[in-house]
Amino acid sequence: MATIIEKGQDAVSSQIEVEALVTGCEAIAEAIRLADVDVMAAYPIRPYDGVMQAAAKLIADGKMDVEYIVADGEHSQFEIVKHACAVGARVFVGSSGVGWFYAMEAIAVTGGLRLPVVAICGNRALDDPGAFGTEHNDSLAVRDLGWLMPWAETAQESLDLALMAWRVGEDKRVSLPVAIGLDGAFLTHSQTIVKIPTQDAVNKFLPKYDLGNRLLHPDNPITIAPQVDQDWLMEIRRQNDAAMRRAQDVIREAHADFKRLFGRGGDNPFLDEYMTDDAEYVFFGQGTLALPMKVAIRRLRAQGHKVGLVRLKWFRPFPTADIVKSLLRFKAIGVIDRDYSFGSPNYGGVLYHEVRSALYSQPKRPVVLSFIAGLGGREIDQNMATQIFEKTKQAAEKGSLDQGDTCTWIGVRE
């Protein structure tokens, strides 16, 4: 049994890895401490505000030294860290739901400026109405804006992905902002046992933030973001694109290092496969929905069904090659989206359309089904898992779907 500590109390001085019973938000606060973040900006909105409180407590208890700026709104919050990041500060920021949208102008330009801001989006349904539960459309709104987007399943993975985020985002080959998706409530507000790494180990993994000759400083006179017009913008976008493409290898590298140092992270940096070795069909999704689906898989396996799960860990950059390699082994893929794209090509989820597109160039493709489940934080229970399973299995047996039958809403009252 590793040493259990109360919410990171002794983690600061500990020379061995310790355990703490913490929420996903508290695990992120531990990552902020371990990454020695210089500036964080805060503005309350649930579920992100759990990080705000946990970080404030670490500062108040004298366990963390970070410039903690409470902004007058999310827009300022994201502007503050963007600017701090340009003058060489390692930064952290975050929001949720409509707060995330209020910051959108600042979020939209951060990718182009190539500033490695690390943010969490504590996923929350978009108001109105005032729903606090998890839905992924808030994070997904930035999917085309040059942000890296990992998604966590557990509090442990939240901490681990945050450390990865600074490492990958700040890497000179990448230099892009990172938005970590954390499911509201299930992850952000549930306490589980989390391993808190030592400072020494983190220092080995995470080099100091260094912007090099892009540092905004009187000794290095530069102007960031001058006015440009049609003569310049395509080239800027193309640079952004090249950085995003390079990120794949940097993530692989960082993941290998992380695994070597901390012994966690699974075999593939982008995908977490569960009981797929002999699977005929799989569920596909991201975030905490993997938890009830894994319980379902064990239950279904006991009945003799060859079913598994592939969980996506990075939505951007979308790991097309890994996905193709993995998913071509199966007859049918049931993509479960905790989001929806109104009026999209097949009236389905965002993730579903991405997976389908990734597989399109393959001569022989599995059947891909779209399931919309758990919107607004609705729990995905075992009945719903069974419905998803049955439909996926049928499609696998038939080898195709009927016209217009690509997307199924699960657990919606008629």
């Binding site: 049994m1 259990i4 109360e6 355990e19 019973l21 929420t23 649930r46 109105d128 109405p129 606090f132 539960g133 399943e153 557990t154 442990q156 993975e157 681990d160 499911d183 509201g184 409530a185 299930f186 507000h189 549930s190 306490q191 589980t192 046992i193 966690r264 992270g265 699974g266 977490d272 496969e273 569960y274 009981m275 797929t276 070795d277 905490t288 929905l289 938890l291 009830p292 894994k294 319980v295 064990r298 239950r299 396996r301 006991a302 860990k313 934080g377 729990e379 995905i380 919606v412 009252r413 008629e414």
Partner: protein, 376 residues
């Protein structure tokens, strides 16, 4: 990342997940930290033999409202994999123990997080436990719980309701006594030695360990058979409509002036209830004006009567009433229903006066006499 396929096949046979779920039902804000300490205490104690667990609050209860019933949970499992069956949920569908840290909660609970009024035993499994901190006996408490739909054991750990504020915690060892009592009820999951060792290690305070032992030693139990309990409490349940039935545009009917909300009543927030002495009332309107929930109705005689279905028991009316002992706050457990008492006063004033004295312990003084002689 947390689990791999390999541990899956080694640790658990499919479909054999074992876990234990405990809920703590508490008064919002006032007992939030207490509930959290109990739930964390359960998980940390079970960690001593390498079990794992999760502790969380019912998300929809937050932001908590003063006194409104809320829930927190602890789920413990032998392995990470088995614990998955208890994760990514707002609350366990079935619990082994429901802990009520204020005994007035046994009358049923209505919260922000769910619809309707639930019996305290609602999620408790067959032959599970309802554990109450109370100075009443199990027999007395059964009188106030909803008629049991399945058998359970009612357990009482001695002590009153421990109330604190949002920023303070009343460290009166209630959490340790409850943890001790839980060890008694769930010896296979929470051995008393583990609980004591865990508390000893985290607090380095023997007095707290003694409180754990006290809870363990002094818990009293009583089996409750199917059908035992009261059916005097209101059934407050709703059907949620489907998407084809709901109004479009996120619209619900508003209440018309004078109408009260039939879907959300709030009275289970009450630990004390105002009882009005209509004889001494001077009809000054203060209670009617200041009640934050607009509970008072004006009677034809110009009195102000409390609609108990709407009253949260905040005590403001008793504070603003200028007449001594005209509005008296009385322990909610003394009442068995919410019926309005002005009718009784109107029809049989003497019967009402007798009832007033019985409930408040104060003499009912006629309006012709000054109130100053009322008991304190």
């Amino acid at each position: 990342m947390a689990t791999t396929e390999k541990t899956a096949t080694v640790a658990v046979k499919p479909g054999e997940e074992r876990l234990v779920s405990i809920e703590v039902v508490y008064r919002g804000i006032f007992q939030k930290t207490l509930a959290q300490r109990i739930c964390r205490g359960v998980v940390l104690a079970s960690r001593r033999r390498n079990y794992t667990g999760t502790a969380f609050a019912r998300y929809g209860d937050s932001p908590e409202r003063n006194g409104v019933p809320a829930k927190q949970f602890a789920v413990v499992a032998p392995t990470d994999l088995e614990l998955e069956a208890g994760m990514a949920k707002y609350e366990p569908a079935v619990v082994d123990v429901s802990v009520a840290v204020d005994d007035t909660l046994v009358k049923g609970i209505e919260s922000w997080a769910w619809y309707g009024r639930q019996p305290i035993w609602k999620p408790v499994r067959d032959n599970g436990f309802v554990l109450v901190t109370s100075n009443s006996t199990p027999d007395e408490l059964v009188q106030q719980t909803d008629k049991a739909e399945r058998p359970y054991t009612l357990a009482v750990v001695p002590g009153g309701a421990s109330f604190a504020g949002l920023w303070v915690y009343k460290d009166d060892h209630t959490d340790y006594r409850v943890l001790g009592a839980l060890a008694r009820l769930l010896p296979d999951w929470l051995p008393i030695e583990d609980v004591k060792a865990s508390i000893r290690e985290s607090t380095k305070d023997e007095a707290r360990v003694v409180s754990v032992q006290f809870g363990y030693d002094n818990v009293r139990t009583r089996e409750v058979k199917k059908g035992e309990g009261t059916d005097a409490h209101e059934k407050l349940q709703f059907e949620k409509p489907g998407w084809t039935k709901m109004r479009e545009g996120i619209i619900v009917e508003a209440r018309k002036p004078g109408e009260r909300n039939p879907f959300y009543k709030k009275y289970t927030a009450r630990t004390l209830r105002p009882v009005v002495n209509f004889d001494t009332c001077i009809k000054c309107t203060m209670c009617w004006l200041d009640c934050p929930d607009e509970c008072f109705e004006v009677t034809p005689s110009g009195h102000y009567e409390v609609v108990y279905e709407a009253c949260i028991g905040c005590g403001i009316c008793a504070q603003v009433c200028p007449v001594k002992d005209c509005i008296v706050m009385v322990d909610e457990l003394k009442f068995t229903d919410n019926t309005d008492k002005f009718v009784l006063y109107d029809k049989q004033p003497d019967a009402y006066r007798q009832w007033f004295t019985e409930m408040t312990g104060l003499p009912a003084i006629g309006s012709d006499k000054p109130a100053a002689t009322g008991g304190d």
